[in-house]
């Protein structure tokens, strides 16, 4: 009698608990999206060769038709363009010529001024000598 009462009590209490676990499992598994197992496997194994192939193809599709011709044209244009070193050399040569011209004209002006001053001094000396000779 006691056993049957205990049995009926445990059955009554276990049944809702079992049900609750089943509900929990059902709720949790409803959270998993379709193809869960495949995705787990894919994640565990990492990207497949197919994914890498798709990546390469996707990159290759970004090139517009006539890519090779465009590259050759750009390479030709780049070859015709003066290099950085030659541009630098031309700039340096231009700067040197300008500096040379400035120094030349500056020197010429100094020489002219010197000549003028010397001529003035010669005139003063000549005038002084003239005064000396024609003294009292």
């Amino acid at each position: 009698m006691l056993v049957s009462i205990f049995g009926s009590i445990t059955n009554q209490t276990m049944k809702p608990e079992k049900q609750a676990w089943e509900d929990l499992r059902a709720h949790a598994s409803s959270r998993l999206s379709a193809g869960f197992a495949d995705r787990v496997l894919r994640t565990a194994h990492g990207p497949t060769p197919e994914a890498w192939r798709l990546l390469r193809e996707s990159g290759a599709r970004r090139l517009r038709p006539g890519f090779a011709e465009r590259v050759l044209r750009a390479a030709r244009a780049a070859a015709e363009m003066p290099s950085f070193a030659s541009q630098l050399a031309l700039s340096a040569a231009t700067a040197a010529v300008c500096l040379g011209a400035v120094l030349f004209f500056h020197q010429r002006r100094i020489d002219q001024a010197d000549e003028q001053n010397l001529a003035e001094w010669r005139r003063i000396v000549a005038f002084a000598q003239e005064i000396d000779t024609s003294g009292p």
């Binding site: 999206s33 994640t43 890498w52 390469r56 193809e57 990159g59 517009r64 090779a68 590259v71 050759l72």
Partner: protein
């Protein structure tokens, strides 16, 4: 992955080195898709692919006469591609320091499915989480480069390449979630 027999490739490279435009064009056509795929894997940006690929091939034409061993052409070309991409990513990073508001305009993510499948989006997302050097490593392996060739490209030892590759693969796997939201 299309490939040219080694002797034919070496001949083609020699002709291109002498300035033969037909050979240069053939080299570009043979490798443009692989280089574009490599650039895309490295930068994760569709709008960079054509420009950077063009830069790589212009550098190739200009520096081809300095290539000592024509048989090494492929690894040399992918070294050029790697360095070009890394330079671009560095420049982009520097630009962000000086123009902090540029980032939001520069990194507009392509919506999921805009580029390809869920798997491709996941791979792009995972690659985006890696350092450019690790991306280059994985992309070079995908291009069929051997550990020894990669070691030469990166100026390091084969053992170091293996260790870095192992770490890069682990990181990629950690971030590879095919159901992620881009």
């Amino acid at each position: 992955m299309e490939s040219t027999p080694p002797t034919a490739l070496a001949d083609l490279v020699r002709r291109a080195q002498k300035g033969d435009e037909v050979a240069q064009r053939e080299l570009i056509v043979s490798y443009q898709h692989r280089v574009a795929g490599f650039v895309f894997a490295m930068t994760n940006r569709s709008d960079y692919v054509e420009d950077l690929s063009q830069q790589v091939f212009i550098k190739m034409i200009r520096a081809l006469d300095r290539l000592q061993a024509p048989a090494q052409f492929e690894s040399w070309l992918f070294r050029l591609a790697r360095n070009t991409c890394i330079d671009q990513l560095r420049r982009q990073k520097l630009r962000r320091i000086f123009l902090p508001f540029g980032e939001e305009h520069e990194n507009i993510p392509e919506p999921a499915g805009a580029v390809g499948t869920e798997e491709l989006d996941a791979l792009r997302h995972a690659l985006g989480q890696l350092r450019p050097q690790d991306r280059a490593l994985l992309a070079l392996v995908q291009e069929g480069r051997s550990h020894a060739e990669i070691a030469e490209v990166l100026s390091t030892s084969v053992a170091a390449v293996k260790a870095r590759l192992h770490r890069a693969r682990e990181h990629l796997r950690e971030h590879y979630q095919p159901d992620h939201e881009t």
